[in-house]
Symmetry: C2
Subunit: 215 residues, 2 copies
């Protein structure tokens, strides 16, 4: 049985983790005989978005506390995450990844990853443990692991940024998984494509399947 650390970034596609991607990642982990523990940073969200109107709301929310909605209360501070305690790390997507786990949404190619996440990513990679990144999360992979081969689907602007920061973008469609052998990193596009929830399940299922079959 594989123990997965799942990184959340809030709860809701526009300012947090994408709820379907996070939920279906957890489901896929169990379907492949694994268990999971969710983690998130204890920081304020970049902002709060009214998901009905798309407008910014005049309030503040905490990434760890909101992530607990997806995790049914069972989420830990990312500072507690040690690579030695888990077999693999997974980052579902959502704009929160680009707003709360790094500042890609604001700064484009010049962005930086929050240090607590960069640290655990490097720790997993040094320990030879695989990492999976869905949707927009592969931009973080490209920033942390130079030259990694990743996919965010077919969005040309994001693909261009990935190549600019030294990454290697591969165009994909629904449910396809790209594997970087050097770093043991898996990526899949999910809602970076115009997708429905069945296609998201396919992507989450395929990436966890590929990861769980890694020798």
């Amino acid at each position: 049985m594989r123990k997965y650390a799942v990184i959340l970034a809030g709860s809701g596609v526009f300012d947090g983790s994408e709820i379907h991607e996070a939920t279906l990642t957890m489901l896929a982990i169990m379907q492949h005989g694994g268990t999971y523990q969710c983690f998130a940073p204890d920081t304020q969200q970049h902002h709060v978005v009214n998901h009905l109107s798309g407008d910014e709301m005049p309030e503040t929310r905490n990434v760890l506390i909101e992530s607990a909605r997806i995790a049914r209360g069972n989420v830990k501070n990312i500072l507690e995450l040690k690579a030695k305690d888990y077999d693999a790390l997974v980052i579902p997507g959502g704009f929160g990844v680009a707003k709360n786990l790094c500042d890609y949404a604001v700064k484009g190619a010049e962005f930086t990853v929050i240090p607590e996440l960069e640290k655990v990513l490097k720790e997993f990679q040094s320990a030879g443990k695989p990492i999976a990144a869905l949707c927009i999360s592969p931009v973080i992979i490209s920033k942390v692991f130079e030259g990694a081969k990743v996919t965010i689907g077919q969005d040309e602007g994001t693909a261009k940024h990935i190549n600019e920061i030294g990454g290697h973008h591969v165009s994909t469609s629904h449910g396809e998984v790209i594997f970087d052998e050097q770093y043991k990193i898996f990526t899949t596009p999910c809602y970076m494509l115009d997708a429905n929830i069945e296609q998201i399940y396919q992507g989450a299922f395929n990436i966890i399947k590929a990861l769980s079959e890694l020798k």
Copy 2:
């Protein structure tokens, strides 16, 4: 293809719709060849719960706006829901059902259902269209449809309340679906049992499968 109306009650197990149940219901609908449209009431939540600590938070949130997080923005006011436009209605669970769609969490057996939901439930039933209720939602069914045979799993307190208000509770385990022929109503326990996400998927899948096979 069946068109499903999915009723949401916010976003998060402790004060809104249970996120896994709502997400996996939507997935199951698509897997059985259906499409869905989410609806929620445009009202303030009963309260806001910090899902990490379990404490009440000193803020207010709107049920429709928070439901939009699960629906990726695509949720309509329940006042716009007409039975003639859909083939079936589904209510996922979560404490928000017992706090925002009715006041069962506060009043126990003496609770009332919000009129806009009671109206659409009766409209679907009068039109001979099936209804599915997951987790705690069957308490609403018992209140609106006298004598309906339902399940919320094995919780004795809730089962007793259901029988007190004239309902007929049947004890079930993971993934089991109870069908009331008179009212064409399907129920399944999901997180009313101590369950994992794979068992929730099983419950959501089975209830939508049963509903979609109804002659």
